[in-house]
């Protein structure tokens, strides 16, 4: 597929042709026969609107790019807050989201993705199908995409708050697995209220989870071991 610059180039050539059409209308037979079906005003209108449209689109896209890059740099500096945020498409803003936006949400919307729950192998199969169907992805992008999709749209529903869940995972590893193994947790599928009750019970039973750590732990548990 052509990149943005190449598309611009193609449009530019077409635009120049349009302008030529206005100027050379009477000189070149081929161009003359092509443009005969349009009147002079139409050709002029096409040429001008084409060029103006290109400039307009390009300026908007450039603005969008620069806004994105500002957002991205804020992301890396201030990862916790911005990673928690999510746009209206339902795509959590973490590493890999840019691949989804650039390569997937071109032919279809994010809605098609966010409703699905697949493990990494399942997402790899879907990505493979999409590549066969025309999506251009590098190997690195494929891996990044599979990681992103499996993280947020994995077999169990990921919590909306990725940063919080990551913090919760650390709590889980440090505070829960001291007394029991992960298997005890993994076999369960509980709602958020259910995990809150379990965490409460564990704290009553002696788990050293602070009040501040509780929401993060519950977020992690609900995301990874929640009901579908």
């Amino acid at each position: 597929m052509l990149n943005n610059q190449e598309v611009l180039g193609v449009l530019g050539v077409l635009g120049v042709l349009g302008v030529l059409g206005v100027r050379k209308r009477r000189e070149n037979k081929m161009i003359q026969s092509f443009f005969r079906r349009f009147n002079r005003k139409t050709v002029k209108f096409l040429a001008i609107s084409f060029v103006l449209g290109m400039v307009f689109c390009f300026s908007l896209k450039t603005t969008a790019f620069s806004q994105n890059s500002i957002l991205n740099s804020q992301d890396s500096q201030d990862s916790q807050d911005s990673q928690d945020s999510q746009d209206t498409s339902g795509l959590p803003n973490s590493d890999g989201v840019e691949v989804v936006r650039d390569k997937c949400v071109v032919c279809h919307e994010a809605d098609l993705i966010v409703q699905q729950r697949l493990d990494r192998a399942g997402w790899k199969r879907e990505i493979g199908k999409m590549v066969r169907w025309g999506t251009k992805l590098t190997d690195a992008e494929t891996e990044k995409l599979a990681d992103y999709l499996a993280l947020h749209f994995g077999k169990t529903k990921a919590g909306a708050s990725v940063g919080l869940a990551a913090k919760g995972e650390a709590v889980f590893l440090e505070k829960c697995l001291t007394c029991h193994e992960a298997d005890l947790t993994e076999q369960q599928q509980l709602s958020k209220a259910g995990w809150e009750r379990e965490v409460g019970k564990m704290v009553r039973w002696g788990a050293q989870v602070s009040e501040e750590e509780k929401p993060a732990l519950v977020e992690f548990l609900t995301g990874k071991y929640g009901v579908r």
């Binding site: 193609v10 896209k61 209206t88 399942g122 025309g134």
Partner: protein, 396 residues
Amino acid sequence: MSTRKQDSAGVSRRSFLTGALKLGATFGISQFLPEFALPVLGETIPGKEKLLVRSVRPTDLETPVELLNSFITPIDLFYVRSHLYTPEVELEDWSLSVGGMVGTPLSLKLDDLKKLPRKTVTVTLECAGNGRAFFDPPVAGIQWGKGAVGTARWTGVSLADVLKKAGLKSGVKYITANGADRPMGKVPDMVRNVPLEKALHPDTVLAWEMNGQPIPALHGFPLRLIVPGWEAAYSVKWLIDLQAADAEYDGFFVKTAYRFPKKPVAPGTILDPKDTAPLLGLVVKSIITTPKHGLKVKVGEKVMVSGFAWAGESDIVKVDVSTDRGSTWRPARLGKEHERYAWRQFFYEWTAPESGSHTILSRATDDKGRTQPVTAQWNQSGYLWNVIDQVRINAE
């Protein structure tokens, strides 16, 4: 004169803009469009405001089952399943070609079809993936709940009459059907094929009317193939081409998709397509549409439990309802409307005997003795979910 000039300029401008949009689509120009030019998520689809939007583009819309309460599903409530973008078909540009292994290849306008004997069939269409969201482990694809099903009256002509006009050569085994929807990139085209015996059945029709009006764009304007009783992907929308062939069409939607394991597999097993067979008729199934799942009722209050049962080409002979989590079953009353390929409505009057949560189950049986299972047969594409249906009601 000046009016004519303006007109021609207007037309050129319009066709130019359409052309530019098509060109843009070809070069992936949607990346180029500013945010406000892209479809807004959460937007409802005109004419389908009450449906759940599963995908904006391609357009996939599910009916909330509690809205299904009539034998014929009104068009505004009828679910939509599209693999590709909805094509804009202009009737004056449209024609149906019939080719392949035929004596006389045909190119037919709608008026040509209308000269043939009319045929109306009442058909329940159900997406093969209806219920996909319930499979565990979860499978890829549109996560349909229970509402990718509906019943409409389809009017047109028998496909057999059209094939007869073209004259099938000997050795034809399949009729391949293609619509005006065009894939983007290398996405495979949505092409399906119907085995000859089913294609020649007089009830298999080429329809231009849905519930008495021209088929709307989302449902296949101007012509849709209707293959009664079979999973709805056979009922190709926006039909433009029929080919008589001696072999299965070699394309994704025939050779890979819409296939089911030849033998039951353990959940999670991914099979090679050679170990799968094409889906054909729908299986026996029922859904409770009223009361809505989670409804609160008063103890002692009469509740009319109703829903629909269907079994593809087979006839529903009974629907049983259980209000004690399946320990005992009692027959529901079947609705009067009864047509060969359409669902039967069922009714069961129930009164909550005590407060608390009550589960109501429905189980349909067809004339072949098939009945709904307790657990689904897991398959990698999530097709044919038909376990005993249930809703929960809270009585206070």
